[in-house]
């Protein structure tokens, strides 16, 4: 297993280099230094303002030199500074991870427990009119765009019922709870339909296994069959699917963070895209690809851990 992991880590290096190359090329093909300067400084910046700005950021250097300098900095995990705010990106990302995780981790667990619960419930009442209704609702939930969830929950739960703040964030312990409720509910709703459908299929497959028939023949109660035997065995497949979601947790949700004013990494990226803050965009791409590679390796490990029949080699 160790040699397998080392090999996977070594494979990751050229992939990351490829991502860096492509993002650097795209960045330079899409916009000239002058266009970058006018994007950041605004249309009123004079030629002199822009020249100074370009020179101070080394964008007038030859491209190969810029690339070598960029890769060298990334190798030491120095992401540089934001063009728009002048802030150190290491600090920006570190400060952004917390708020992102505050939304995504509870959202992830809420979605996980709700989907597993709903899937088990549907298996419990399988083939009943209620099961069919819930399946229909799951498909409907899958089909609704995130924006609709945001507008609906803000209008209904925040404005209509006045239960939660429609916007904002606060990181002082329990005071935070009321701010993350709506985003967490949305996070759950976004994933609920798809996940419940998937998990229902997994659990139903388990229901057809011999060991379930044996348990039922022994007189084990239906609820226990589902809650212990089906759930535990179905979890092996579910875990591997869930681990691949980890990068999304760290990187946050672009739309939800932006619409709820959560100062997380998703929000950082949205603002960077809107203001043409290239260092932030490129560092986010690098971080995102690194996290995805890491998550794929982690999936393999979890798969092996969850199912002793699997060996990594």
């Amino acid at each position: 297993m160790f040699s397998y992991l080392v090999r996977r880590l070594l494979y990751a290096v050229p992939i990351l280099l490829g991502v860096i190359c492509i993002s650097f090329l795209l960045d330079n093909v899409m916009m000239s230094p002058d266009a970058k300067a006018s994007r950041v400084l605004g249309p009123k910046a004079t030629g002199q303002n822009r020249r100074e700005w370009i020179h101070n950021r080394g964008l007038d250097q030859p491209k190969p030199m810029q690339f070598v300098h960029y890769v060298g900095k990334l190798a030491t995990l120095q992401f540089g500074t934001s063009w728009v705010t002048g802030r150190d990106l290491g600090e920006v990302f570190l400060k952004g991870v917390g708020p992102s995780l505050c939304i995504t981790i509870p959202g992830f667990f809420a979605a996980f427990f709700a989907s597993v619960g709903l899937a088990l419930f549907q298996v419990f009442v399988r083939n009943s009119p209620l099961d069919r209704t819930l399946t229909f609702l799951s498909v409907a939930l899958m089909s609704v765009p995130t924006m609709v969830y945001v507008i609906f929950t803000q209008a209904f739960l925040a404005l209509g019922l006045s239960y939660f703040p429609a916007f904002g964030f606060n990181d002082d312990g329990f005071g935070m709870a009321r701010f993350i409720m709506l985003p967490v509910i949305i996070f759950m709703l976004i994933n609920l339909g798809h996940d419940a459908r998937l998990y229902r299929a997994i659990f139903l497959e388990e229901m057809g296994q011999d060991y379930i028939r044996t348990a039922q023949a022994k007189g084990v109660a239906n609820a226990r069959v589902l809650g212990v035997h089906v759930f535990k065995n179905g979890l092996i497949a579910i875990i591997t699917l869930v681990v691949a979601e980890l990068p999304r947790l760290v990187l946050g949700s672009l739309l939800i963070e932006s619409l709820f004013g959560i100062p997380g990494l998703g929000n950082v990226l949205v603002q960077a895209i809107q203001t043409g803050d290239q260092p932030v965009i490129m560092a986010s791409v690098f971080l995102g690809s690194g996290l995805y590679l890491f998550a794929f390796i982690l999936t393999d490990i979890f798969y092996a851990l969850a199912d002793p029949r699997i060996r990594l080699s």
Binding site: S38, R39, T46, Q48, G86, F121, Q154, S162, P165, G261
Partner: protein, 651 residues
Amino acid sequence: MHLCRTLALMAGVALLVGCNNDPNPAPYHKTRPDGSPWRVRYMREPSDPKSFDPQFAYTVPDQQYLEPVYDRLLEYHPMKADPIELRAAMLEEIPRKELQPDGKVSYLCRLKRDIHFHDDPCFPGGKGREVVAADVQYVLQRLADPKVESPFFAPLEQHINGLHEARETGIAKTGKFDYATPVSGFEALDSHTFRIHLNGPYPQLLFWMAMNVFSPVAREAVEYYDGQMHDGKLRPTFRFYCVGQGPFRMREYTPRRAVRYERVEGYHTNVFPSDGFPPEKAEWLKQFAGQPLPLFDELHILIVQETIPNFVLGRQGYLDSISADKDSFAALITSDQQLTPKYKARGMGLEKVGLPSTFFISFNMQDPLIGKNVKLRKALSSACDMRAYVDIFYNGVAPVSNQLVPRGLFGYDPHYVNPNGYDLEKAKRLLAEAGYPEGRDARTGEQLVLTLEEPVESTEYRQRAEYEQRMLEALGIKIKINENTFARVIERLEQGNFQIGAGTGWAIDYPDPENFFMLFYSKNFPREGANYCRYSRPEFDRAYEQMAVMDDGPERLALIQQMNAMLAEDCPAIWEFDKAFYIATQPWAHWTHNHPTIEYGFNKYHQVDPGLREKVRHDWNRKPAWPPVAFGALLVAGLIYAVRWNRRRHV
């Protein structure tokens, strides 16, 4: 099991705490020292500040973030807009213009005494020192320092004596600006009196003094807040830390969330004016006349990028005003541009803000086809029905523009009729005279094809582009749209690589016609300037050079009329509209002023009634109890159904 119970308990507590939809943190205090209620004003900005450095920050939002902390040498009278009137802020009086024997001009300025920088660790003993003339000299040196990257250097270097030279000599030795380098345009007469020497007449200097570029900053603060570690503590950079001298001190800035300010005790630089009240508010405003500023104690600027939460927060009463943007317009404003009955019944007010600006479509005067054919340009201009355009895309709020100078500025002629305004029949006639009858080349019979550069960054932009295309194609010609990002369009315009460019225009820096006519001055060709049309006419240039340095008066007006006539004759652009929008104000925060030309600098004059806000907020945010009950009942019903279904299945 224990963990599950703890989690359930935490979730329950969280839900209980969650039963409050106020997104704002608790105010710093509940009452003032005299026992009266603590007054908080809640505002919204759509983006983070780019900087808190007065010599760097340039955009309107940045100036709004800065104005509570940094006073300016001069400011606009909050009530007087027709004509616009400057009044002294940190200066004793409006600077006196002095003509020097060599034809140069100086301004004599006297700082008010006893204005102090806010207390801060950067000063000895943490006590803010008095603002003196040397701080203004330091401002000029900062403009000359290339590391500050001040956008104000370029427009001021040609006017302030020695500013350009100071940069050259300041960086000559080490490449780093030496702050021992004097700026010859600054002459200190005593600790509070100074002269600013100009290279020639430049009356606009007074308007610059009303901007944050001339806000005095303390050298101690700039040097102290260097972004480095000191004694194990990281100090912020001066770009993101304020040590001001204005009515508020900045207490907190949390990126992408909020900026909070608290009133500075003992602020006395200015008081609420006693004159110039608009007649419809005069009776109400009298109560504030002569009162010390600011009228409230705490300012909370919430950073809300999206428009939907802005409307929701405003409806809940958590913002003191709601901007009527595209998502909320129909809910707030009726078709005859009044507040809807629902919001009128809430006691809300409606203010129209018109930012002097002119948006136009630029023709490339160096393009071999369009640049050489004035009748073609006039035909295109006459084909554009900007009234319909504004009705569709701006709800009819933005005024249609028919001249370069926007409303509210000296030189704007309300009776002017644009000879190239919308008239489709005339446009078709002009097109035929231009050599393209019914949109086809008279010699070859081929359809005329023109390319329109369009900044398209959203669906709405695309709709606008397609509408412009349709207006022009009504002439029978073919318009090819070249869609790009705004930055890319500007790049193409700067390179002169276009025929017709949309999305161009100018928003006011200072209320002077020179700020607009410079867009067609031939020495302002890109990349140094913003004459994207590459319009060049020697008579226009001569008139501009004369007009730019004149004081307002009949002679200046005559020159402006001449320039307007030249632009109408050459038609280098299609005038589109001026920027304007509505803001609905809450019943507890009706505006004490509405300056129709300037968007910033008036925060300290606003008032709030915290008692009314508290009462109204409570009424607007009642929480019904039935939804959790209904939800619980639904769950229980589902469970009962499930159990019964299972029992039936196994019978």
